[in-house]
Symmetry: C2
Subunit: 217 residues, 2 copies
DNA sequence: CATAAAATTTAGGCAAGTCTAAAAATTTAA
DNA sequence: TTAAATTTTTAGACTTGCCTAAATTTTATG
């Protein structure tokens, strides 16, 4: 079993390595888990002993297959809990991250699989990030921003690209929330703002907003 | 903030003190939290410093008002999560205790209040134990065993008095689960077994079983 | 390519929570 | 009511995870 702390390190290393697929520096981990570099070095030795990371002094680290599997499982739990909090307990998109940071460490596999089923096996969390399945598979990103839709092409809101509370709160207010079906009616030539039909209403959103709302066709 | 460990100590002291309402011994706490007496003494000093318990060397401990409030809040969380696990995720009665031991330490008050509402503000957990409300009030026990019902008096199953897995599994099999409406048809004079109507079926349960199923009228 | 700057690791320590062994207090029982 | 048994506490030590300060390695720059 890995401690709460070890899990957070693995998760951070995972998130830091995904965008670039390169080895991760001690300092970047320190920033991510909110400690000092010296503490990170201590932990890296421990994780390397457990064969959860590949670590060579001064050369940064990468996850082993086993370490990666653990990290992905934490991400799965995090995103499922976020989905639960928004869909069932009606939290706002911008309120759930902190809560999920705690819930993601609940250990039971059975619990998370049942939660997954209870939620209807969602594919994306409320921010539009893909939820890994129980085998660790992560759906390739098939979400596209509203700005790339053709007028008349209806789609369902699955997530966002921008996580700032002020943005998420704006979407709440406009009723542009997860699961809503939307259809662009027209793109205004003047400023590229988009006229959308949502719930039989017509709303207008700026190009910037349209770029940051992710949908599936 | 109190650590996970401190919370467990407070919870144990609470559970140990409720039945007798007397001060709790070091050894009984040690047994309850699964450590050695020496470790308990260390922790008692710490909790006393924090004014969460009344502690005099060699004289056992009791909770202060503040300590009790914390303990009750943990019990509230434990029982609400158990209810969630059984009602929403369809765990069996005998499977949820361990899981709730972990979930009860999730800190957010907002989360637990929303969970409470989502579950319909349940008054009893799946074992029939009362769920404290958000102010710490605990409903006086109003549940009665089936064996005390009059024939024809219908009631709803709220919990059990016996928590042995084999018993809970038997109830599952007989469909005698939480929330089910039941009505005793007849008490057999020979062995005091009870004929019950459940879901338009008639089932027979022994007197012993009837004594261990708690209902509300 | 030499050296300054930055990043990383080592060394030595601290707090929380646990343990064993031994000492002290309390309870039981002869 | 005193000795034995039991319970509780103290003492000293270990592990995990964190820290600061100093040493070392790598990287960047003139």
């Amino acid at each position: 079993m890995n401690s709460y702390t070890e899990e957070n390190y693995l998760k951070s290393i995972y998130h830091l390595s995904v965008p670039t697929d390169e080895s991760v520096s001690t300092n970047s981990i320190a920033a991510s888990v909110n400690t000092k570099a010296a503490s990170v070095t201590d932990m890296l030795k421990k994780l390397a002993d457990k064969k959860l990371i590949n670590y060579t002094k001064y050369q940064g680290v990468s996850l082993t297959e086993e370490g990666k599997a653990i990290a992905i499982n934490i991400v799965r739990k995090h995103r499922l809990w976020e989905f639960f909090l928004v869909e069932k307990l009606h939290f706002k998109w911008d309120e759930v991250h902190e809560l999920a940071e705690e819930l993601e460490h609940i250990t039971s596999v059975e619990l998370i699989d049942r939660l997954d089923k209870f939620l209807g096996n969602p594919k994306y969390d409320p921010h539009g990030d893909p939820i890994p399945d129980s085998t660790g598979c992560i759906k390739k990103d098939e979400l596209i921003p509203i700005s790339t839709l053709q007028p008349g092409q209806s789609a369902i809101i699955m997530g966002v690209r921008e996580h700032a509370p002020v943005f998420l709160q704006y979407l709440e207010k406009m009723n542009l929330t997860i699961g809503k079906q939307i259809k662009p009616i027209e793109v205004i030539a003047f400023d590229h703002s988009v006229l959308l039909s949502v719930n039989n209403n017509t709303v207008s959103i700026s190009r910037d907003v349209a770029k940051n709302i992710l949908v599936t066709i």
